[in-house]
Symmetry: C2
Subunit: 155 residues, 2 copies
């Protein structure tokens, strides 16, 4: 059995799971929501899937990451997700970074950076110090979804 | 009819509504939750009340402010709370500050500062630039509830 956590295998896994997050982002876009998707993976199993629902729920807190964290904790029966990885198509905002910190997320993997609203600009130290951060997985695909969405809005 | 928004009257109102937030914080403490409470006021009416429920719901996102924002938006039927005031007994964390920003909250009034987890330390620019911030309303009472709670935990 290969060690799934050597560097190259992790990258393959990260791309695999990010594709699932992208599917969630597409679902958001199809219902008129800003297309951001997320999945939470624990021990190679997807335990939560979510996409942005702020318009549908009339709730600014209904970001993909927030829902994924809530759902993952419900599945595990515990608040802390230190053995989990959160995959999200776009860099989390300050709110979501705060939630990721409270959850003590083991790993955060995101696709496209968000220069305007991303946590790296406004709260670079918001995450838990033990959370491993991987950036840029399927970044182009994630960014393309966002660009298409906002271009269509302006038409 | 007096102008309820002159300086002294606002202070009276802020104390009045913060007392309601304190009642919520007490409810949290009584059920073993970190005692933080919040209310949202719109046009002199309380449209949402909430207290921290992270333990009860096994959900790190269930802070008083998050629930109050979600409930207030549901009551108003709109995501934006720019005509509302959020009263919360303790300085919001980074997550909640992010949510307050997305909601474009008109005013944020908080009691005790939170040097360890408060947004002012980690994300001082997290709030929407138009949000008016008032600090220190019933700060001692709010801080006392927190101190009692953690002292009892250590016993």
């Amino acid at each position: 059995m290969t060690n799934r956590w050597n560097k190259s295998d992790t990258l393959v896994d990260d791309t695999h799971y990010m594709k699932q997050a992208l599917l969630e982002a597409q679902k958001a876009g199809e219902r008129g929501e800003v297309p951001v998707g997320a999945v939470v993976v624990c021990k190679e199993r997807i335990i939560a899937r979510a996409h942005n629902l702020t318009e549908t729920l009339t709730d600014v807190t209904a970001h993909a990451e927030m829902q994924a964290i809530t759902a993952a904790a419900a599945t595990l029966g515990g608040k802390y997700l230190n053995e989990c990885t959160l995959y999200v198509t776009v860099e989390p905002c300050v709110m979501c970074a705060g939630a990721i910190a409270w959850a003590q997320m083991g790993r955060l993997v995101f696709g496209a950076e968000d220069e305007k609203r991303g946590y790296q600009r406004y709260a670079p130290q918001a995450l838990h110090p033990k959370t491993i951060v991987i950036k840029g997985i399927l970044a182009e695909e994630s960014a393309a979804l966002m660009k298409e969405f906002f271009a269509a809005k302006r038409r």
